[in-house]
């Protein structure tokens, strides 16, 4: 039922940073060569400002060469509420599709990140503000289910303005649905790592994204449930200048780390290997067999190969169980 699409190591249509040839950083205003900015993963070489990137470019940055197979690309949103504001929902969808070349605000599939196989789901803020409707929820569910079934870790790169109002209550229900998807993951004992990119707000940050085993954000990313405008209108409180930034969230205990985009790929691979370090010998053997496939090891560095070997050595001992969670396992 699902359609698979190959995306190369480098996106063949990388978004040129705003301004084209005469680009200068929106933060530090330093001019830079767009090609150099692209080569620096769309991060300003002068000040480290992280530009927003689309789902396909993100995938290209993270995965090994040829290391992504898209799944569930045929899933299409319906218009269950026949929603019309100033435009109809189908009109808005068509515009978003034309603008991004995507069918929905999320792209998901199987991936290899620095030789570690995983399921990867990446959101795209350019598609209706990365809003979460039925298709985003369903793809996340399927990604989680595949991770659980195949014993693969799940990586989600999240950027979203929140729920998709045009699907009304059903968009709200995606918060519960994706939360249940995390429960599926936890029950299977497979790792789940979330990367929050600018901006990540509303229903996404208040559901699956912040329930990951490890939750990191890109520098400067804005993260909040209620936005500054709503807060100001409702409470008249004055917001701190760095309200909602990744750095502030880190200090407030809500993130494991802030990770620069240039380090993200290696960090993700290390996180995944470490979290799998406690799996059963069976699972590790299975994983190892998969990782030995030629493609998986193409660009593995010596360090990674060493970690992989160490990973395989790891005996955990007897009595280790696959299913970690029980119905009674209500944790904070």
């Amino acid at each position: 039922m699902s359609v698979t699409v190959e995306i190369g190591r480098r996106d063949d249509r990388p978004p040129v940073p705003p301004g084209g040839a005469g680009w200068s950083c929106p933060k530090c205003h330093q001019p830079a060569d767009p090609a150099a900015v692209r080569a620096n993963l769309q991060v300003c070489p002068a000040c480290g400002y992280h530009l927003r990137i689309g789902a396909r470019e993100r995938i290209a940055q993270l995965v090994d060469q040829g290391g992504f197979r898209e799944r569930w690309a045929a899933l299409k949103t319906l218009d269950p509420l026949e929603f019309t504001d100033l435009e109809t929902y189908p009109e808005r969808l068509r515009e978003a599709q034309a603008k991004t070349g995507l069918t929905e605000a999320i792209v998901a599939g199987t991936a290899t990140i620095a030789s570690v196989q995983c399921v990867l789901a990446v959101m795209d803020f350019g598609f209706m503000g990365g809003s979460m409707g039925s298709v985003v929820g369903e793809k996340l569910w399927r990604a989680a289910e595949m991770a659980a079934t195949e014993g693969l870790p799940l990586v989600a790169v999240c950027t979203s303005g929140g729920a998709r109002m045009q699907e009304g209550i059903l968009s709200l229900m995606q918060m519960a649905k994706t939360t249940c998807a995390v429960d599926v993951i936890n029950e299977a004992g497979v790792p789940f790592v979330a990367v929050l990119a600018d901006p990540c707000t509303g229903g996404v940050v208040a559901s699956f994204a912040t329930l990951a085993d490890i939750c990191v954000a890109e520098p400067g990313a804005l993260l909040y449930f209620s936005g500054p405008r709503v807060i100001a209108e409702t409470t008249k409180e004055e917001l701190p200048a760095d309200f909602g930034t990744a750095e502030r969230n880190l200090a407030l205990g809500h993130l494991d780390a802030v990770v620069a985009r240039t380090e993200l790929r290696d960090k993700l691979a290390n996180y995944l290997r470490l979290l799998e370090g406690g799996g059963t010998p069976e699972r590790i053997r299975a994983r190892r067999a998969r990782s030995r496939s030629p493609r998986g090891l193409v660009d593995a560095t010596a360090r990674r190969a060493k970690a992989l070997a160490a990973h395989a050595r790891r005996p955990f001992g007897r009595g280790d169980r696959e299913a970690v969670y029980t119905p009674q396992d209500i944790e904070a």
Binding site: A74, L170, L172, K177, T179, D183, G202, I231, E237, L252
Partner: protein, 307 residues
């Protein structure tokens, strides 16, 4: 004559449309009605020997959420609900039913108590939404809501949520990841308030009635969307006109629903709860003819009452 038919047909469509809008907006008004019974009133009318249990065991007791233990028809239950209050003083004390992370964490720790002692959980949903304040945001509002949902999803005991007023956004859903969601006839439940929706999509909050219509927030509409299991009748004009009668309708719905849930094995109940939320959504899976998944029943609004 064909022309006249067309003209009348158009007129009828317009009128039906206006009636839908009127009905949706009217329901929003009733759901927010100041004198409407709140969680505490329902607890007083439905629960014997109620013992309020306060605090999140971390840093605060959020009065926007009330919780405790009591007897429902001879069965000990844990009750948790948003508390709005009626008078202005009460409303301020309860922060208009807008919970902070501390409130959701209080709910979580009461879930754990229920789980440990195998007590069914009743939640009452009545909030404009989670509180959008700086301290609430920085105290982890997002994750507090997410964790509350996940912990509800994991419970092995029966959980019944009843929407008794405004079911506003994630702040409402956080107490509604239940086996069954009941909803009073004049309650509403939506992803965003009509005013908020209008301000964003129409760029003018004055279009709230239009947004209310578009969001389909009423009980009968949500029943058609499979988002709730049961509409609970209210006295004519709304629950505030006869709280005892309204409570009796809620009591009957809770009794029947609990009996249904108790008959299910805990592991199966939990799996079904997850499946319940898994199924919510409307999408098709392209290329394959007839492979439309999650198609919905007709949404043509049925008239619910005469005013």
């Amino acid at each position: 004559m064909g022309e006249e038919i067309e003209r009348l047909s158009t007129r009828l469509k317009t009128l039906r449309h206006e009636k839908r809008r009127h009905d949706a907006w009217l329901t929003v008004q009733i759901a927010r009605e100041k004198d409407r019974p709140r969680t505490r009133e329902y607890i007083a009318l439905l629960i014997e020997g109620f013992e309020e249990l306060k605090g999140d065991r971390l840093r605060a007791d959020d009065r926007a959420i009330v919780g405790g233990l009591g007897w429902f028809e001879g069965q000990a239950v844990v009750v948790i609900g948003h508390q709005k209050g009626r008078t202005l003083d009460e409303q301020q004390m309860h922060n208009f039913g807008m919970a902070r992370p501390e409130g959701y964490r209080k709910a979580q720790r009461l879930f754990r108590l229920a789980e440990r002692h195998k007590l069914p959980i009743f939640t009452f949903v009545d909030t404009p939404g989670a509180y959008p304040g700086i301290a609430a945001e920085e105290g982890g509002q997002a994750r507090a809501i997410a964790e509350t949902m996940r912990n509800m999803a994991r419970l092995s005991v029966p959980v019944i949520a009843t929407v008794i007023g405004e079911g506003g956004s994630g702040g409402a859903l956080a107490l509604a990841v239940a086996d069954r969601v009941l909803m009073q006839e004049n309650a509403t439940y939506s992803v965003i308030s009509p005013e908020g929706c209008a301000a964003i999509l129409w760029r003018d909050a004055e279009f709230a009635p239009q947004a209310a219509e578009a969001l389909r927030p009423t009980a009968s509409q949500l029943l058609a969307l499979n988002v709730i299991e049961r509409v609970v009748k209210e006295p004519r004009g709304g629950a505030q006109n006869n709280p005892e009668n309204a409570a009796n309708e809620v009591r009957q719905a809770l009794r029947e629903t609990l009996a249904e849930l108790v008959a299910i094995d805990p592991a199966a109940r939990r799996a079904q709860r997850r499946e319940r939320f898994r199924k919510l959504g409307a999408f098709s899976e392209g290329s394959v003819a007839g492979a439309v998944i999650n198609a919905l029943p007709s949404l043509s609004p049925r008239p619910q009452r005469d005013f």
